[in-house]
Amino acid sequence: MTGATAALPARVSARDDQRSPKLDLWICWWVFPAFYTLFGLIFVVLTRVMPPPRPGVGVDQINSFFHAHGTTIKLGFALLMVFIGLASVTNGLVAFQMKRMSVKPIFTYAYIATLAVGAVPGALFAAFAFLAAVFRPDRDPHLVALLYDVGLLTFVGSLGCFTTNYLVLALAIALDKNKVFPMWMAYITFWQIATELLAAPVFVFQKGAFAWNGAISFYEGTVIFVVFLGCLIVLLRRAIQQQPMDELVQD
Amino acid sequence: MRRIPAEARIDCVWILLSGLTVVAWGLAKVHGEHRLTPSGPETVAVLAIASVKSRLIIRQYMEVRTAPTCLRRATDAWLVVVMVTIAVMYAYA
């Protein structure tokens, strides 16, 4: 273990033992499946952003899409407005586990920064664009079509922040001697970068396998992300269970 | 220095692989002119050659030849699934 937390004597106090240990870790861990189930409910069932509607459509089809799903989009993204913060809590949990690794906290700070960047263009812009699109029935159809593109292109197309995020996490796991996460998790995390690369053509194509609803650009990336998420949740649970109570985490 | 059999084996595999590549390339080159019409036998030949080459690489170079059985089956399964699916879809096209 490198380094010790600051102000060590003040940490251990009488009241520590009778409360269940690692309570905050377990709360944050339960936030993971809860938030991503809600995320799936909002983006798949309610707002139909996943799987995304077809890009190569005319203005009137876009308007009929918003007209048909107006109420569920409003409900879904209003929920997202309240619960988007839980994504930051999950970032905090993974960042804490990276702090337990033997690598210096450079990767931890990079992890937090990249996800803080990714949250706004990656998820919230789609919410704002779709909410604005259904906010007024009498809005100019062409502006609604503009919001359709803004929403879906930012959601499927924001790649850089997540690529850096995956790279930083993979490097931290690979270089970590404390083996907080197994080595193969580094490979699975790194494996997603190829899917981000293949999502790049969404800015070029309006139909086919590389459009924003294409088999390769969207579906494969989503499947691999779900696999990655499942592995992460299971490994976080194992990491929390195996963390010794008196472990000194570098500050 | 007497060639240790393991290295000799790698060289033989390499010669075989290169040879197969040249054969496949020749096959495609010979039928160069009427490229516009899909030809069943030539595609099957090319896919067969590719399968043999792939299996050689997996078994010899990746040393799956002496790997646990589950790994052998997994790599074989991948190869069979990919090649058969492609061949069937070609027949369908």
Binding site: A78, M81, F83, I84, S88, V89, A95, L131 | -
Partner: protein
């Protein structure tokens, strides 16, 4: 021995004074922005909105530029809270990282909202529908996404409750207060859906309750942090004095 002047001006106290000065400036900008007093009605027609921007163009630009400059100045203030959370004797520091991640995304949203207003005010002779769209996006981005602040306050409250120190960093009521502020802000998410009534973005709940609750939270945390820093300096001085006594006893 009274701390010398240099010891009083440490990073934390400077961050607090930064927050105080720029908080006042932001309050001035908040009051001087014509769209806030009285808050613009989401039910206004495109022509009314365009006329509003035409009429108040100078003041809108002035106040929003100030917002743009000073809005992110509150980041050091939030980082002081993160530092104090890391000093707490919670089982682990995961909540501090969750708070940091949420604060980073929250501030980004504020900056984005501000930009939409400035773009709308840039060319008032634009097609009214476009100005109305920009105005809608600005208001939705400014009021609706309360999730980040809710997550920050929940993390802070949890950390306060789990603080096992003999003399906790923040008193217990700070936790209750944070939860209360979070609950007061949750309904504001409705501003992205409703155009009339209390939940609309000019309504009593979404505008007045939300903003006054958040303002109160910042003011209260200012004083709470000031006391926490004073107490921390006290602890450091006692520890230093104790060390000195110990050194003399050994000699």
């Amino acid at each position: 021995m009274a701390p010398t002047r240099s010891e009083r001006l440490n990073a934390q106290s400077v961050s607090l004074w930064l927050a105080l000065v720029f908080g006042a400036v932001l309050l001035g900008a908040f009051v001087s922005f014509p769209g806030f007093f009285p808050p613009m009605s989401p039910d206004a027609s495109a022509q009314q909105v365009a006329a509003f921007y035409e009429h108040h163009q100078a003041m809108i630009r002035a106040s929003m530029v100030v917002f743009n400059l000073c809005g992110v100045m509150l980041v050091p203030f939030f980082m002081v809270i993160v530092y104090q959370m890391k000093r707490m004797a919670t089982p682990t520091q995961v909540l501090a990282y969750g708070y940091l991640s949420a604060a980073a995304s929250g501030v980004t949203l504020f900056a984005v909202a501000n930009l939409f207003w400035l773009i709308a005010a840039f060319r008032p002779d634009r097609d009214p529908q476009q100005i109305q769209l920009l105005n809608d996006l600005a208001w939705i981005t400014f009021i609706a996404p309360v999730g980040m602040i809710v997550a920050q306050n929940v993390c802070l409250a949890l950390a306060v409750y789990l603080d096992g120190r003999a003399e906790p960093i923040f008193p217990r009521w700070v936790g209750h207060f944070s939860i209360a502020v979070a609950l007061a802000m949750v309904p504001a998410a409705g501003a992205a859906v409703f155009r009339t009534g209390p939940l609309a973005w000019d309504g009593a709940i979404s505008f007045w309750l939300r903003n006054s609750a958040y303002g109160a939270f910042l003011v209260v945390m200012f004083f709470v942090l000031r006391r926490a820093i004073e107490r921390e300096r006290g602890e450091e001085l006692d520890a230093a004095a104790e060390l000195q006594l110990h050194a003399e006893a050994v000699r």
